[in-house]
Subunit: 338 residues, 2 copies
């Protein structure tokens, strides 16, 4: 390890995060399951195939337009399970609370979690609470881990092993809303943007897509690091490339405006209710049409495709026909976005 | 909720923790699995019975005699699974790091976790890392969640449904070491006590006990809140009582000395390598003998029994024949002990 201390960028979901995973966690925790590096791990337990995932939530502020840390804690883990192809079943909830944190705010968060778990059809079955002295945490951190069950015909999704040239890339709606909503909610900015977090559990939407076709070959939720990180994970070290049509990617006007103002790339801003899918070209339009009928997929669109050229690389084709490279965030622009 | 803010005692594993669980988490997260309130939840997933648990670790200091937060993160979760009767298989690891935390210390902790996972026969299969700004966490917090598989003949252990009057209560060794070792390691105390944490994964020891008998009816690891909390959970709201012979409970001299000095009850001090078992009277001596041959059970002993009198209550019989009530810690004596 060249750097001697942890930087905010190590938690960005971008290059520094990937470095830390490769050079430290993979080095010591090395095993074939972890090595697959999906957002969930796929486990054979007796005769069942399970999906297992964990996520800690440290968002600041803990309340933001259209959500709070409790919504994230459910959606984040449900989505990690759902994009692995699993049916999410059970969640754990681990709370780290700062001494002096408001019990009424805790109650709102816990209530939110219970409601969202119910909506997503999962049960919170085990938990833990730790309290640290005032000034040694920031109000509340939540870890949720989750277990889902994987159907036989969805086992290849996590690895994307069936992806072929010509497959279409789909997203279920606009990018950047969550990151910019949280950013705007930070006191120091006092921006009245009306941007709302897109935070949502996506398992229902994903089920709708699978009702249309079983030719969904890869899914990933675009959280920290945004669409760019997901696409990079998709093409990195692969024998294919990725081409994205910039104009096809939905971005709300207020989000693109705020990104421009603050110098962010909306493709690199976190989402909490967006899934990127790779789908067989024959089925892509049907999947988009089905998603558009679902409340979390109204703006679903085909945004690009898998190409046989520039293997291991991704390009964004701009509206004037130019090209730019798809790249992961290298530092940290938005600490504690989830 | 009467109190308006979170107190350190809400994380003690004692009365305030139980209040928070009953009045907030159980109220909203209510379901039949969570309601069983074991350290692990027992899940029917397809044809498998799984055990699932979560624990966050916030110990301070992160390095202490005979261990670090990494040892706790593995042992704590492995033990929660093992005492539910399950064979621990897979762990997740979620890190919350403070900006500026030393990468070399992180490497030591991660290496410790890898080594202990290997010793315990479990794999770390999924993870997550978040970084918060300097001053918004304290170096490192770790959450581990775990999945184990439960054999048909061990399903009743978690609930203790087979406990009968006359059953013996066993512990695998001395109480209070972990709590006092961490306490002594705190800079402000500068106590050179030579007390070492008992932190250890107990699944191997528990397997040894099951090789002797299948008449083990209840197990619980005595962590936060110590032996007293486990015993209280054992007899509370039950049709039987508990009687403990004070002299039979192993307590190391340096631990009892330090407890006396600081005003602690060693029965209420945290352990990280102690399991309390309820075993059929016929099998109890054999279990103790087998445990004593294992490195984590050298001081194993029968410490008391299940009684038909004083249902729902526990008594400690002192060396002079007196009785005192077994009671849970009501406040918080030792914050951030695990």
């Amino acid at each position: 390890m060249k750097r001697e201390n942890i930087l905010l960028g190590h938690g960005s979901g971008g290059k520094l995060s990937h470095d830390l995973i490769d050079k430290l966690f993979m080095k010591y925790f090395d095993n074939e399951i972890l090595a697959s590096q999906g957002d969930s791990s796929i486990l054979e337990v007796g005769s069942q195939t399970l999906s297992f995932t964990t996520d800690s939530f440290v968002v600041s502020p803990i309340f933001f337009p259209n959500g709070n840390i409790g919504n994230l804690a459910i959606a984040g883990t449900v989505n990690d399970l759902a994009v692995s192809g699993a049916k999410p079943l059970y969640l754990s909830a681990g709370f780290i609370l700062e001494e002096g944190f408001s019990l009424s705010e805790l109650e709102i968060i816990v209530k939110t979690m219970a409601e969202d778990a119910k909506k997503a059809g999962v049960k919170i079955v085990t938990g833990d609470t730790k309290v640290v002295e005032r000034g040694h945490a920031d109000k509340i951190f939540i870890n949720t881990s989750g277990i889902g069950i994987l159907a036989e015909n969805r086992k290849g999704i996590s690895s994307g092993e069936d992806i072929r040239v010509g497959d279409k890339i789909i997203i279920n709606g606009a990018v950047g809303d969550h990151g910019m909503a949280v950013m705007a909610a930070r006191n120091e900015l006092k921006i009245n943007s009306e941007i709302k977090s897109d935070c949502a559990p996506l398992n229902g939407l994903i089920d709708v897509a699978f009702e249309v076709t079983d030719k969904i070959k890869f899914m990933r939720d675009a959280t920290r690091g945004g669409l760019s990180s997901v696409l990079t994970e998709l093409f990195e070290r692969k024998s294919f490339g990725v081409e994205i049509m910039e104009e096809a990617v939905p971005v709300h006007d207020n989000v693109s405006g705020m990104c421009e103002l603050l110098g962010f790339d909306p493709f690199q801003v976190a989402n909490e209710g967006k899934v990127v899918m790779v789908v067989d070209a024959d089925a892509a339009e049907d999947v988009v049409a089905a998603m558009q009928k679902h409340k979390y997929g109204k703006e679903a669109a085909i945004i690009g495709e898998i190409t046989g050229t520039h293997a291991g690389k991704g390009w964004i084709i701009t509206s004037i026909g130019g090209k730019r490279v798809i790249d992961m965030l290298s530092g940290e622009q938005l600490p504690r976005i989830c």
